[in-house]
Amino acid sequence: MLDRIIEILPELNTAFFETMLMVGISLLVAILIGLPMGILLYVTDKGLFLENKFVKLVVGIIVNLIRSIPFIILLVFLIPFTKWLTHTTIGPLAASVSLSVAAIPFYARIVESAAREIDKGVIEAAVAVGASPWMIIKDIIFPEAKPGLISGLTITAISLIGYSAMAGTVGGGGIGDLAIRYGYYRYDDTVMFTTVIVLIVLVQFVQYLGDFIAKAVNKR
């Protein structure tokens, strides 16, 4: 069994980095697009300083639309878009496209609910002091929601690790792909167990790291 593990190590190593790449890229996209989107959902809400029913509705519908499609279907549905964007439909980079599309609304909703945890009075006090909307977002909402934003990112990362296994099945590579190829198609239990253990360790580590950072930035 140990021989088999050693034998599979190079492939496992590649798969691990492919997973990290997919999750990393989509997490980055989630921060770049999902975070502002979530803030937008929050500040355009009723009673807030940028209240805007129309924007709130449109963004809300887009987010719900993507979130209502099961990931495995989204994966197939986005193949033409992936092809147009990356000129290929296989490999971790191609898989990152649909992972990112799924990550954006996922994180946006988490950001929105993290921002909602802030006492509205704190935001009102900033409005009363004459702060501009951008300043309130940057200097009040963002730091106040930081612990929630970080634990939200942890949740997103762990979900993405799970999703990346599905992406593996359509040629995305990564640990999930390895597990399916050897464990499912070839009945190679050793590889399957190894990948499962790697995934468990990875998820535990991400969770621990996320909790640690979230705690460190929490001043409450």
Partner: protein, 336 residues
């Protein structure tokens, strides 16, 4: 300094339209401490929030220092708000910022360059007595200290007006006193006009020059604090006054009372005791003070006594007539 003209605020709720504030007009003078009292739901908080347009009045006008706040663009309004400080019952400090950063944020919002912020923040913390707490986070502070920080934040941009929304309601009586003292100092030393919303008549008695009583979105009574305390006309006002000037006599005492019971009120410089002793020497009656106290409304004393008078009815009537001319108010509660 503050003029509120025919302001109404209508809220849309599931139950239909609700009048938060109804046709209120007020004029608050420069340098004044003005109190607005009422039970919760009376609309006083909404009225206050209309004064810096945190709540946009449905109809009416609001001027602060000659500026028509409702005629401003949102950018101009932000500028105007920098000269209107506001503090809240819940303090609303930013928990992820230190005391220093909380105060500095107000300066940043007003576009004060970073280099100039530090001295000003320390100056403000000195004023509220929290200089050594500059690097603490709000969670490390007591309620009174939090309110001091929020006062420092509200004063950061040298406002002309300070709006206080139930600023002492979450504090214990001792801390309330010290915060009120601080507000008074700010009013006297910096000349800032202060508007205080409260349900505690004690607060009004302590520091307000004038006050208004609100009920169901309307101002039902308004005047100098002394007048309101000495001569309340509306039942609600009387109820509020009673929370401070309570003269409840035990029922047993009233039952055993054999003479005429009366309530005397002395204002300002009239020495109550001398008038009573003069009366007792002039008429063949006996007087027995059952209850009495002198309250200082601001600086002016207001004395109230409950007296039992025994003797011939005709003598009592004469004594009452004598007193009526010399005291500010005399009310016969019950005859023998």
């Amino acid at each position: 300094m503050i003029t509120v003209e025919k302001v109404s605020k209508v809220f849309k709720t599931k139950a239909g339209l609700v009048n938060g504030v109804e046709n209120v007009s007020l004029s608050i003078n420069k340098g004044e401490i003005y109190g607005i009292v009422g039970y919760s739901g009376a609309g006083k908080s909404t009225l206050l929030r209309c004064m810096n347009i945190l709540e946009r009045p449905t109809t009416g006008k609001v001027w602060i220092d000659g500026v028509d706040l409702l005629g401003l663009s949102s950018k101009e309004l932000r500028g105007a708000r920098q000269s209107i400080g506001m503090i809240f019952q819940g303090f609303y400090l930013v928990s992820s910022k230190t005391v220093f950063e909380n105060v500095a944020f107000a300066l940043k919002a007003a576009g004060v360059p970073k280099s100039k912020r530090k001295n000003r923040v320390l100056e403000l913390l000195e004023l509220v007595g929290l200089r050594e707490k500059a690097n603490d986070y709000p969670v490390q502070l007591s309620g009174g200290q939090k309110q001091r920080v929020s006062i420092a934040r509200a004063l950061a941009n040298n406002p002309k007006v300070l709006l206080c929304d139930e600023a002492t309601s979450a504090l214990d009586p001792g801390t309330t006193k010290s915060i009120l003292k601080l507000l008074k100092k700010i009013n006297q030393e910096l000349g800032i006009t202060i508007v205080i919303i409260t349900h505690e008549m004690e607060v009004v008695k302590e520091i307000c020059n004038r006050c208004a009583v609100m009920q169901d979105g309307r101002v039902i009574e308004e005047g100098s604090t002394y007048e309101i305390f000495a001569n309340p006309t509306e039942p609600l006002t009387k109820a509020f006054i009673q929370t401070v000037l309570s003269f409840e006599l035990p029922a047993k005492l009233l039952d055993n009372c054999t003479g005429t019971l009366m309530r005397l009120q002395f204002r300002g410089d009239i020495a109550g005791e001398a008038v009573v002793s003069d009366m007792l020497q002039s008429f063949p009656v006996r007087g027995n003070i059952l209850h009495g106290k002198v309250e200082y409304i601001g600086e002016t004393p207001l004395g109230i006594f409950i007296m039992e008078m025994t003797g011939e009815r005709t003598a009592i009537d004469k004594a009452v007539a004598y007193l009526k001319e010399r005291v500010n108010q005399l009310e016969v509660i019950q005859h023998a």
